[in-house]
Symmetry: C7
Subunit: 94 residues, 7 copies
């Protein structure tokens, strides 16, 4: 299992085929092309200056759109994941 730190989430990349099924089509001309993924793990949130954790808005299982070129790719137990900061997530789909 991968447990992300702070305000990070672990994302399973959604295949191009599934993408069409869920209705998201990415325009050719987009300056900052978004991508779709499924949240498989969420961090415990960033810590404010008042020493409180800010819980993430997304939860395990959420289908999300995120900014392309953000995050770090990881291959774990044979599957590809992406570790993102919540700030790179644009919206939840569904």
């Amino acid at each position: 299992m991968l447990k992300p730190l702070g305000d990070r989430v672990v994302i399973e990349l959604v295949e191009q085929e599934e993408k069409t099924a869920s209705g998201i089509v990415l325009p050719e001309s987009a300056k900052e092309k978004p991508q779709e993924g499924k949240v498989v793990a969420v961090g415990s949130g960033r810590v404010t200056d008042n020493n409180e954790r800010v819980a993430l808005e997304v939860a395990e299982g959420d289908l999300i759109i995120f900014s392309k070129y953000s995050g770090t790719e990881v291959k774990y137990e044979g599957k590809d994941y992406l570790i993102l900061r919540e700030n790179d997530i644009l919206a939840v789909v569904g």
Copy 2:
């Protein structure tokens, strides 16, 4: 449905024809050309260091002017949307 995160909003781009109807005409010489859109979804707001959400000033249905070149284009269920941060919205029209 697209549910934006944090202080983001989802905008439906207003067609050039509608723009004339609502009275906004963009000057040729504008350094940072604004554009018009209709808010279709708002995020729950950014979190302050006191761990409180700051509700957005704009609401669903608002007609807004935003800075050109801001945000990320998304095509969802065949329609074009733009996901913006509230900070890129200049004014509400109406």
Copy 3:
């Protein structure tokens, strides 16, 4: 009507003729040339980290000097406006 967001104001540009009347003359050599305008709408203010709005110092009807090249030009119902952040306003005249 244009309702600016946050700490923004909507300014009606003051004509060169009026400028002379109100006594402001801009020096040729100014590095950052100021300009004059009349406030026609003010935002509800920025939100502090304590989730309070900071009311703007300027009010509707104020004659102001602002830094040239700041803000975004908008033409609305046939008139030219400028949307500025309060921070780009140097002084109130009068």
Copy 4:
């Protein structure tokens, strides 16, 4: 009258002759040459994140030294002024 906003002050430039009289002589080799001026108006101060105004340290009539190349020149009712942020003021003379 010019009423500066926030932590700004309006300065009347002190003539080169007066400068000698008050005892300030600027060295040729100074990297960042200071200049002298008289405060003619002060803003109400910046607003902290606790929504309190921080009163300025300088007052009307103070003779000050400020960093050259800071601020914005304004000509108002035939006289030259400079609008500075308090942070560009180095010291009060007197």
Copy 5:
């Protein structure tokens, strides 16, 4: 013993062989290649503006993934270590 300061951790680099055993395989094409390590010492945490220490999320013995090119290499008593800030740790594995 090495006792890291603030929000730093001391990491023992995990050999390429062990890496395969634990299931992490790094993709060739990763823009920001993550690496694996074992936490051998943690700092007491950063200090907030309220003068409180924020305890680290990772603990001694944790197997972690961190961003390549982060941290500082140190050889201590014949072994190689890496001193990282917690912010450069992407996730805990296990």
Copy 6:
């Protein structure tokens, strides 16, 4: 008299001869060569976001080492001074 603002101090430059006497010798190879001076006036301190002044650590008469190339040179009543921010002071000597 020069009364510095905020977290600034006015420094009287210590001559090269005195420098040797007090035991400070600056290495030729220093990347950021420090210099020695005597504090002749201190500001009332910076204002925190809680609207409190932070008193300076240095006092009138202190012999200090500061980073070369910091501050602004001023000649006042025939003597050379340097106006520095307290942050540019490295240490008090003595």
Copy 7:
């Protein structure tokens, strides 16, 4: 005596010979080579926005590793010192 300001410390550089004795060997390939030193004086700490001093984690006599190229070299009463910010200290050895 040198009394560092704020979150600074005064470091006595540890000779290459001693370094080997204490077990620290610096790798040739290190991007940011750390160095070893002994703390001879600590500042009273930085001041938070709540106007409290944050005591330093290191104390007089600590053997530390710090990032090469950080700090300012000073020669005082014939000995070489380095004045560092605590943030440039990676770990305490011992």
